[in-house]
Structures are given as C-alpha cells and as structure tokens.
C-alpha cells in the first residue's frame, strides 16, 4: 500500500513526459514516490495498471503523468505539474516579468517536444534501418531551430553565463536541460557553446548530479541506427 505522506508520481517506466518532474524533485530535494504504469507501448494498448488508472476516473484527460499530493490535490499535464512545483519551491523567478519569461521558455520547449515526440515515435515504430534513418533526419530538421533560439535567448541574459531568467535557477533552466538531453543526438554541441556550457552547469548541481548517476533512472533511447 502506498504511503500517503509523500506526493506520488504515476507514470510509465520511462523518462518521457515524467522525467522533468523527477529532475525538478532532484534539484529541490523533494521526496516523492512513484507508481509504475509499466512499459510504454508505442503501438497498441497500455498496461493493466494504466487502464485501471484511467478507469478510476482520476485522470482529467485520461493522460499521465499524474501527480497526487497527500492533501488529495491531483494534477495532470506535465507542464502544469512543472509550474506547480515551481510555485511551491521558488523556481519561478522573482518578478512578474521573470515568471512570464519562464512561461515563454516553457511554451517554446512544449513546441519543441511536440515535434520531437512525433519524430521519436516514428523512429521507435520504424520498420528497418532505412525508415529509422529517415525519421531521424526529419526529427533533426525540426529540432535544430529550437537550439538556435535557445542559444540566442540565453545569450541575452547575463551574456549566457548564468541562468535563462534572472540570477537564480528556475524551472526554465531545468526544462531546457531536459529538452537538450532528449535532443542531444540532433545537434552538434559545438554549434551551441552557451547552451552546452549551461547544460554542464545544470548537470553538476548536487541534486541533479546525484539523480543522473542513480541506477534506478530509466535509460535513454537512441534515435540513431
């Protein structure tokens, strides 16, 4: 029986849309528990655990990740959960303008993820190397413009040597890290020096560094043949 003293994350055994939540929790030292919904199935039905959760009526849009707090408060939509954790942990900037700029960056990452996850799905469901290669190239084409935008956005704040917004870490920095980690096969690090250095800074923050080394972390999937 799951303990009710900690928040619970319900998601598949994958990084996917749940990973950003795990990274934020690692950064702020938030203890939570996970309920596994099994392996994600790209083509066809999901696990019994997932279907039971849908049938329970707790999912507002029949989607996961699903976040449940000891108070009974529940939330879906990863970007909403990200903002929720930001609010509760001072990761949202210090002024209205900073908050809104964090939102802008989160929205841009959402745009990137739509293209990336479509491409990712195509790669994972490809029949044979030729199809896989084609899907990879298509994904690469869509993604690279975002790296360029983020490099420029970063450069406009403290010459790109600190954070994306203001003078302290926000969920924008962690979400960019997550996006770049997903898309790292799609671009050449050397083309985005500020973004790469930022990536390294986030990766070496104590909470996140410990999480990245954790054996329990779900593995990455390569998009390459």
């Amino acid at each position: 029986m799951a303990s009710v003293s900690k928040p619970t994350l319900y998601y598949f055994d994958a990084r996917g849309r749940g990973e950003i939540i795990r990274l934020i929790a690692a950064e702020v030292g938030l203890e939570y528990q996970e309920v596994s919904l099994g392996t994600y199935n790209f083509a066809g039905e999901q696990s019994q655990a997932f279907r039971d959760l849908v049938a329970s009526g707790q999912l507002a849009y029949n989607q996961v990740p699903f976040w449940k707090e000891p108070s009974g408060f529940t939330l879906t939509q990863s970007a909403a959960i990200v903002r929720h954790l930001a609010r509760k942990n001072k990761l949202y900037g210090k002024t209205v303008e900073e908050e809104s700029t964090v939102d802008e960056i989160l929205e841009s990452i959402g745009d990137f993820l739509i293209g990336f996850s479509t491409g990712f799905r195509k790669v994972m469901t490809s029949q044979g190397d030729e199809q896989k290669k084609e899907a990879f190239e298509e994904t690469k084409k869509g993604a690279s413009k975002w790296f360029g935008f983020w490099e420029r956005k970063l450069s406009a704040n403290n010459k790109g040597e600190g954070y994306f917004v203001g003078d302290a870490i926000t969920v924008a920095d962690i979400s960019i890290f997550n996006a770049v980690e997903f898309g790292q096969e799609l671009a050449n690090k050397d083309d985005y020096p500020l973004l790469s250095a930022h990536y390294g800074r986030i990766a070496s923050r104590p909470g996140i560094a410990a999480y990245l080394k954790n054996e329990k972390r779900h593995p990455a999937f390569s998009l390459k043949v």
Binding site: A60, A80, H84, V96, E97
Partner: protein
C-alpha cells in the same frame, strides 16, 4: 488618459487567430493595449508573408520567429500565446486564489493546447486544401473536438456542479480560454451535446467586459475553416 506610447503592443496578423484569447483576457482584465497588425496571413506552405511581417522578424523582437509578440513600453517583450495570457492573468488576478487553483488553471490551459495546436495545423491545411481533403480534415477535427469537449464538460461538472466557473468561485483565464476555444472551433461544437459547456459559454459571453469586446467594431470577423 494613458498616452498611446505607454500602451503595450500586440503584434500579429489582421485576424483573430491564436491571439484572440489574449484580446479576450485583456478585455476582462481591463488591460489596454494596441493591436499592431502585420498584414494578411498567407496560409500557403513556405509563404513569405507581408513586408511588414518580414521586417518585424528581422527586428529581433520575435524571439522564436513566431507571432504573436507582446511588447510593453518598458521594452519587455514576450512571445508564446499562453505565456502572454498568463502574464495578463498575473497582472489582474485572473489566475485563481491559491497555488492549487493556479495549477488547475494551468492544467486546463495545457489541455486546451493539446486540442488547439493540432487544430490550428488542420485549419491551415484546410485553407490550402481541395474539397475532398477538406472533408477528411473536417471529420478528423470533429473527432478531436468531440473528445476534448466531452472531457471539458466532465471537468466543469466537477466544480460546483458545473454551474459556475472551471476553477474555484471566480472567473479565471481557464474560463476565458475555454470560451475562446469553443468560439474558434464553432463549426465543430454541438451545443446540445454539451449542456454545461454551452451554459458556461453563455455566461462568459454575457460578462460586461467580454460582451463589450465581442460586439466591438475593432474586432476582426469570425473565421470559418471547414
């Protein structure tokens, strides 16, 4: 009276489009702004768009080379429709009264994006399509609409039996964004199938500041896509 110089600018094409939700929120929030149109939108793939659009893109103000852009007189600029909507909500208490309410508002906005973004893609395709393809696109859009309208009908029913607002006991951007979504997708919405949503739509529409905007001569005309 505020001088024109100090009003923020909303940069977009001359139609309702994605930023109409910003115009609706600004109306309810009583935030004055200036529409800064960049000409007629050309939906053809790879279209160059107008001279004004290209000049605006070259100005560096469009961080992601997209519209809309919200530009304040301080120089603060913001891209991304839903970031701008949240920005206006923050400045005017249209975001809910607790952390949990704010996060539930966010969840609804994200769900709207899940429906709206593919719909906009479909709509652009439909503008370029011949009758046969248009029919297919329309059927797909209708299927998606039925799914999401059904989910929002359910969501609404869970707050004060659907007799009030989507979140808490007062209006938020969640209510206005749902109103805008139904208005945008009016060709796909069957009132009779969604009684709570329909009544909610009417309540939002009847709010003085909203109805002042929706009946304004400055408002771009209703769009028909399918």
């Amino acid at each position: 009276r505020m001088s024109t110089e100090s009003k923020p600018k909303l940069w977009y094409f001359n139609d309702r489009g994605r930023p109409e939700v910003i115009r609706l929120v600004a109306a309810e929030a009583e935030i004055e702004y200036e529409d800064a149109p960049l000409g007629e939108y050309d939906p053809k793939p790879g279209a160059a768009q107008t001279q004004e659009f290209r000049e605006f893109m070259a100005s560096g103000k469009a961080t992601y080379k997209q519209l809309p852009v919200w530009e304040e007189s301080s120089g603060f600029t913001l891209a991304q429709t839903f970031a701008i909507v949240r920005h206006l909500a923050r400045k005017s208490k249209l975001y809910g009264n607790t952390v949990e309410e704010q996060s539930t508002v966010d969840e609804i906005l994200e769900s709207i994006n899940d429906f709206f973004t593919p719909l906009v893609d479909s709509v652009i395709k439909a503008l370029n399509a011949k009758d046969e393809e248009k029919k297919t696109l329309s059927a797909e859009a209708k299927k998606s609409a039925d799914k999401w309208f059904g989910l929002w009908e359910k969501k609404l029913s869970q707050n004060n039996k659907g007799q009030g607002y989507f979140v808490g006991d007062s209006i938020t951007i969640a209510d206005i964004c749902i109103f805008n979504t139904i208005e945008f997708a009016h060709e796909l919405f069957h009132k009779e199938s969604y009684p709570l949503l329909s009544a909610h739509y009417s309540r939002v529409e009847a709010r003085p500041l909203i109805s002042k905007w929706t009946s304004s001569k400055k408002r771009y005309p209703q769009e028909f896509f399918f």
